[in-house]
Amino acid sequence: MLDSHSLAKQDTVWYTSSSNLYYKVVKGGMFVETRSTQLLKGTLDMCLLATMAQRPCYGYELVQQLAQQGLDLVSEGSIYPLLSRLHHLGYIEGYLVASHDGPRRKYYRLLPAGAKQLERWQTEWEAFAQAVERILKGARTDAKS
C-alpha cells in the first residue's frame, strides 16, 4: 500500500502526447499514479478557472491559492502549459502589470467564455461527485448491515 502523504513529495508531473497532465509518483524508479493525482489531472483546469473567478492572479499566486485550499502541485510549473491552453480556448486572458519592486508581472483574469465554461464544469463535477457519494454511502450502509 502506498503512503500518499510521503509519496506526494516525490510526485512528478508528466505529459502525454495529447498534452494532458499526468501526475505520477516515483517509487523505486517506477511510475505509479495515485488516485489524488488522477483526480487532480482531470480537475486542475477547473480549479484554476475557479481561483481566477475570485480575482486576477499571477502564476505563483495561483499555486499558492491552490495550496491554501489543500491542492499541492508538486511540479508547480505545470500550471503554465494549462494556462496557455485556457488562454487559447478564450477562457482567460493575460495582461502585464507594472511592479514597484521589479519587472512587469503577468496576471490572468477570467473572461466571460471562461465563466460560462466554469459553470458547465461545476455542474458536471457536482453531478459526478454526488453520484460517487451515493455509491460510497451505499457501500458503507451495506458494510454496516
Partner: protein, 252 residues
Amino acid sequence: MQKADQRTQKQIADLVRACAGYWELRGIARKHLTEMQLELEQHLQQAASDGKSLQAVLGPHPAAFAESWAREMRPQVWRGSAVALHGVVYWLSVVGTTALLSQLLAHSPAFTFTLFAAYLLVGSGLLALLLQLGGFLAPRISTRSGREALLLAGIVLAVLVLRLAGLTVSWSRTLLSWSWPVTIVLLLLDAVLFSLDSWRTFRKARASLAFPGFPVLRAVTMFVASVGVFDLLLFAGSVAVADFCRLALRLM
C-alpha cells in the same frame, strides 16, 4: 521578497536561458517567448525565496516542462522556417566570403570545399546548438565556459577513440569545387535571402509592441561583423585544429 543565494540565482538564469533557447528553436514568437521567460523567472525566484527547490517548479525534467509549454503555445510552422532561413543565410555568408577571400588572396581560379571545412561548419553549428541547450544537457555545470570545456573534452575524446579504433579520415578530400562566378552567384543568392530575412524581421518588429524600433543599419552592420569574425575564427580554428591533430597523431 528575499533574494535567493548566488548559486541558485545562477541556476535560475541558466534554466530560464535554456528554456528560452528551446522555445526559440520550437518557433515560439518573440513576444510570447519574452513573456514566458519573464513568468518562469519570476516564479522560480519567488519559489527559491520561499525555500522551494527548482525541481519543485520544473519537475525532474526541465526539458519536458519546456516542451509541454511550447506545445500549448501552438508555435507557428513558419517561425521554425524563419530560424532555418536565418541559419542558411549565415552559413551561406560564411562559405561565400571564405570562398571569395581565398580566391582573391590565393589567386586560385577555383575554391575547394574540403571535408575539413564541412566538419568545421557543421561542428560549429552543432556546438552553438548544444551550448544553447546546455542548461538541459548538463545542468550541474552552470557556467558557459564550463560547458564549452566539457564539449571540447568530449570532442577530443571522441577523436582519440575513433583514431584508436583505426578510423582514418582524409580531411583534405574535396567535397565540392567551384570557380569564382559560382562564388558571386552564391553571394548574390545570400544577399537576396538576407534581404528577405531582414524584411520579415522588420515587418514583425513593426507589428510588435515589444520592439517599437528596428535599427536596420545596426542589424546589417552586426551581421556583417559577425560573419567577418566567424571567418577569422574559422581560419584561426582550422590552423589550430590542424596543428592539434598533427601533434596528437605524432604523439600516438
